[in-house]
Amino acid sequence: MLEIRDLTIRFGGLTAIDGLSLKVDEWEIVGLMGPNGAGKTTAFNCITGFYKPTRGHVLYHGRDVTRVPPHRKAAMGIGRTFQNVGMVKSETALENLLTAQHTKAGYAALHGIVGSGVARTREKDLVAHAEAILDLLGLSDIRDRRIGGLPYGTLKLLELGCALATDPELLLLDEPSSGMGPEESDELGDRLLALRRELGVTMLLIEHHVPLVTAVCDYVYVLNFGKLLAEGDAEHVRNHPEVVAAYLGTEAVAG
């Protein structure tokens, strides 16, 4: 479904990603791990089109989408969340879910501006869909709350809902469990598995929380300094000596 081939991106003299290749097949949940600054979020930004890689290709359903602009990626079925929660803070939870359905609105901008019948009917469907998502995530009680003041964990969950509202085939999740306790994180794992089961969403997630990765990921890639360090199933990767060294520091292994 998603394939990255030999991706390299440089910012000035700094090589953020160096020859990365990875594959995500349909129905898979793939993890992307690595210490801070390893280039994981940069990889996301290349996939979603915010960055143009210096070299290499991003293929989606076999098609080269390296230079497709980000807003078109959303329409192609690539949804994403952001590391520090990316939503519209001044809007309510419901409005955020409506905003997320932008490409699914099903009416032209002009219809929205003049308030045609089509737009009004479709708006009702969008609201129903948004409410269904709120219900699915157990967030119905914050429907009309402006999200600015909500707790971080709730925001993370709502953001997952917003990503779902874009109706993605492929979901890129940037540290979905950050700000959550162990219990919430377990719950999130179950939720992700349920999403795949019920909606058939393929996922690529950046995650540090090892129990979550072990629980949900079919395959894991580990990055360090922009290079692929190891790949394999969660168990394999966790015991990989170089991965341990990267996380704990080289001295720990050498010494």
């Binding site: 519209v88 609105a105 929205g112 402006r146 600015g148």
Partner: protein
């Protein structure tokens, strides 16, 4: 994903109840509406001032779409209003005879279209130039555009102004007021539809965070241009109405210090009304029309206090001071503007219980850090 049946079916009931409440409470606004319709009919001056207020409402809403939703400040909006006035007057070209109603309509459409296109071009510039620099570009644009285009002898009636008499059916000040009110209501409707559709949500997402907006599939290019164009079209329409309100297009109203003052008045209306708040902007527009130099309100007050002559000689400066003080008061102490003050009432009209304490805090983000970008 399938909508959860129990959730969906529970909603229409809740909504039906709410809409009945809303309908009942809307009755409370009826006396106000009656007053708005009746008062301007009693006296030509009232009609004249009321039309001015309707024009201000249209420009205020135009600023609301651009600054409140799109998050782009405009310090040169007089150029769009002026371009609308110039276009309408020149298309209709009535001379001393009453205008042909058909051509009058064409003139209004052309006024709106001309300013829409001009705003679209400025929007294209805004794709690359941002922040304070864009604020400056809009300021320079407003002043230069007016000075360079409006003063062309072929367009401003060789410096003597272009007369713009109305069609017979709109000749009386009261009828013309009703016409202007209708168009203002139309702009209010558009503003409301923009806010309630994917267009407004896309604009607001762009205003707050372009990355997030794009991740949701909002095209920065397309939506910025849409925001500018809607705003320009509304301002142009307001300009068209203004030309036939004063029955003349004169470039002197839009150039130099007069134009600069006008541009700032529009900013004041949008900010004092509360960026992103339709109702607040409408009220602010009415307030600034009523206290403007063309309104007899302050003059009568001043007469009563034996300051009539002083006020009469200085009314432009008085309106500057009023606008400036309210603007500063709003940005420093009350960033939500009138819209925020009105929220208990607007929430009540929307069917919520009346409460001075606002449970969701209101949208002051348009004025806070990260809100308005330029």
């Amino acid at each position: 994903m399938t909508a959860d049946a129990s959730v969906s079916s529970a909603l229409p009931g809740r909504r039906r109840l709410a809409s009945r409440t809303v309908a009942t409470r809307a009755l409370a606004a009826l006396p106000l509406l009656a007053l708005v319709l009746w008062l301007p009919s009693t006296n030509d001056t009232y009609g004249h001032v009321a039309t001015y207020a309707a024009i201000f409402i249209m420009v205020g809403l135009s600023m609301n779409v651009l600054t409140g939703y799109t998050g782009q400040i405009s310090l040169g909006h007089q150029a769009f209003v002026g371009l609308g006035a110039l276009t309408a007057a020149n298309v209709v070209k009535t001379g001393i005879v009453p205008a042909d109603p058909f051509m009058f309509g064409v003139g209004m459409v052309c006024a709106s279209a001309a300013s829409g296109v001009a705003a679209l071009l400025l929007g294209a510039v805004a794709l690359r130039i941002r922040g304070l620099y864009l604020a400056l570009v809009t300021l320079v644009f407003g002043s230069v555009f007016a000075d360079a285009i409006f003063t062309l002898p072929s367009l401003n009636g060789s410096d003597a102004g272009v007369s713009a008499y109305r069609p017979n059916s709109l000749a009386s000040d009261y009828r013309y007021f009703l016409f202007a009110l209708l168009l203002a209501a139309g702009c209010l409707y558009i503003d409301q539809r923009v806010r309630g559709s994917k267009v407004g949500r896309g604009l607001i997402a762009l205003r707050e965070n372009e990355l997030v907006a794009q991740a949701y599939g909002v095209s920065v290019l397309r939506y910025k241009l849409i925001g500018f164009t809607i705003s320009g079209a509304m301002a142009g329409l307001a300009g068209g109405v203004a030309a036939f309100w004063s029955q003349e297009f004169s470039d002197k109203n839009f150039t130099d210090v007069a134009g600069f003052n006008l541009a700032l008045t529009f900013v004041v209306i949008a900010v004092v009304g509360g960026l992103g708040s339709r109702g607040g902007v409408v009220l602010a527009a009415i307030f600034f029309a009523l206290t403007s130099p063309i309104s007899p309100l302050l003059q009568s007050l001043a007469n009563a206090m034996h300051w009539g002559t002083y006020y009469g000689n200085n009314k432009f400066y008085v309106s500057n001071v009023i606008g400036a003080v309210l603007l500063l008061q709003t940005v420093i102490l009350n960033p939500g503007g009138l819209g925020q003050v009105l929220r208990p009432f607007s929430r009540w009209f929307a069917g919520h219980p009346f409460s001075l304490h606002d449970p969701d805090g209101g949208d002051t983000t348009a004025m806070e850090g990260g809100g308005v970008r330029a």
